[in-house]
């Protein structure tokens, strides 16, 4: 029988991943939503995506990632409902 403390975060995290430019092109889509067990980090989400999505392995193991419009580190914990943006090396200007 499962006991769950209501103060604790959900056991399962729902994370949306957005892909841009070349990354979107290689996997043929601009976004995915993944469920994964709590706790998880940015790099866990990336690893899951690389394993699950066709051609996901063409995306680097440590891409630039932004959450809430800011760059984040690979070891940052992710929270339920967050959106991760995977950014290819930039090429503005």
């Amino acid at each position: 029988m499962e006991f769950r403390n209501p103060q604790e975060p959900a056991e399962t995290l729902s994370i949306r991943v957005r892909l841009f430019a070349r990354y979107a092109e290689v996997v043929g889509r601009e976004s995915f939503t993944f469920e994964l067990p709590h706790p998880a980090t940015v790099s866990d989400v990336v690893a899951l995506m690389r394993a699950r999505v066709p051609n996901g392995n063409l995306i680097p193991e440590q891409p630039l990632v932004a959450v809430n419009l800011q760059h984040v580190r690979a070891d940052r914990p992710v929270h339920d409902g967050e959106e991760l943006a995977l950014l290819p090396p930039v090429a503005g200007g």
């Binding site: 430019a21 630039l64 090396p89 090429a91």
Partner: protein
Amino acid sequence: MTGRSLLYSRRLPEGEVTFATRRPIDLPRLMECVAAESVGGTAVFVGTVRRGAEDGPVAGIEYSAYEEMLDAEFGLIVEEAASRWPQGRFAAQHRLGRVPAGEASIAVVAATPHRAEAMEACRYIIEEAKKRLPVWKKEIFDDGATEWRENPVKQADAERA
């Protein structure tokens, strides 16, 4: 809020010119934005799509962006410039979508009371923009072939995040 940002001089009314634009860059308009009685020097940088690339004649470049973050990151860059050059007035645009060879993809304008700071601030903004703005480009060749182009990344920058 895609492509609809304020920015530029903190002294300008919001929304006068948007940073991201799908139309040709309007440099005279940007220069009007920064004009003021206090301004003695205005420095401008304009980046243009070059026709002659390494792999053949380029017809144009298709620019795409993470637009919300583009606005946010450019806002940060302008804030940084404004704190280093408190009397500075800044305006900029980045064009998105297909930009034909010979046309401008980015313009940065920095106006200050004296000339040295104008050139330094302009350079600061363009260098940071090149490193940080979430913009990507795909070269389109005359024969229709395309190729993603990435700016050279220094290791130190890659590890910054």
